[in-house]
Amino acid sequence: MASAVEEKIKEIITGIVHCEGRALTPTTTWKDLKADSLDLVQVLVQLEETYGIEISDTDAEKLKSFGDLVAYIEGIVAAKAKAG
């Protein structure tokens, strides 16, 4: 079952990138979605605002697939929860 974070990220991506019916699976890449650099920046900005975080360009470059992104954000959310 999809986590709340996964659902939220899906909502953000589909609100910005024209997925044209393509399903988002853990292995779906930005390239698969035909997302351009502007789409990416907008997704990052919304994620940053939603979770109150800052995603560096260096980290962003490593997030090639939907699965990468979900794991990355879940990691941050978990760390924040732990830190209280």
């Binding site: 024209h18 502007l38 920046v41 907008q42 560096s56 360009d57």
Partner: protein, 256 residues
């Protein structure tokens, strides 16, 4: 020109890389304290801040997406909190979608217009408050694309045309407050953005067709920005100065 900038506070949006970095460095070298706004690249902002601090001025970096009016407010709150005033605003940050007019969607249009044109409006509103009673200078960075029709440049070109029009309106409206408002429009400038082209393409497109004999570099633009912020430029209002080595007025096939 040095002394007149000493003790002044300059905010440069998009001030960590490319043209913005050169402008930040220029003001620091003239003795002004500098606030560098950045958006995506914190390491670049920190690096530029370090270089500038070495020039003996105070520098502060702030992360803000200037396409968002709320973030613009926070940016200026930070300037006020840190330096208590603002003398110079350089609206330099830019973004944009590289699409043809037929491909451009509402999202790409809004994004580009908000960052390139609307940001100047809200930055100028906030800047004017921090310049109240003393006056100041506002310079925005435009591009030749405001007047030409270049491939896949429609969103940026239109946003820059809006920026230049807004520069004129602000110049008149803010003149009674002793605030000088102008713009600088450059042709292609040697920055990271040009990495999209191969060296051969750049040579053919830019160097060989520039009457001045070389491509415009960020320092060329920074020098003109500093001039427009100097007392010498007091009577220049609402203008867009073109810095292009003659590209925009050169005949396509040469004169011989």
């Amino acid at each position: 020109m040095d002394s007149e900038f000493k003790g002044k506070v300059a905010l440069v949006t998009g001030g960590s890389r490319g043209i913005g970095r050169a402008i930040s460095r220029k003001f620091a070298s003239l003795g002004a304290d500098v606030v560098i706004d950045f958006f995506r690249n914190r390491p670049a902002a920190e690096q530029t801040a370090k270089e500038i601090e070495a020039l003996g001025v105070r520098v502060h970096i702030v992360r803000a997406n200037i396409g968002d009016p709320e973030k613009v407010k926070l940016l200026f709150d930070e300037v006020k909190k840190t330096f208590g005033k603002l003398d110079i605003l350089v609206s330099n940050a830019a973004s944009g979608v590289a699409r043809t007019a037929m491909e451009l969607d509402a999202q790409g249009w809004d994004w580009t217009m908000n960052i390139n044109a609307r940001a100047l409006l809200f930055c100028a509103q906030e800047a004017a408050k921090l310049m109240e009673g003393r006056g100041g200078k506002i310079v925005s960075i435009s591009s030749l694309g405001s007047q030409l029709a270049m491939g896949k440049y429609v969103a940026v070109g239109v946003s820059k045309a809006a920026l230049e029009a807004l520069t004129r309106y602000l110049a008149i409206e803010l003149a009674p407050k002793n605030i000088c408002v102008n713009a600088v429009a450059a042709s292609a400038v040697e920055t990271e953005a040009l990495k999209l082209y191969t060296p051969e393409q750049k040579k053919a497109l830019l160097w060989q067709s520039t009457p001045a004999g070389r491509i415009v570099i960020p320092e060329d633009v920074a020098g003109i920005v500093a001039f427009l912020c100097s007392d010498a430029a007091f009577m220049i209002r609402g203008q867009t100065l073109i810095v292009d080595g003659g590209v925009s007025i050169a005949p396509v096939f040469g004169l011989e």
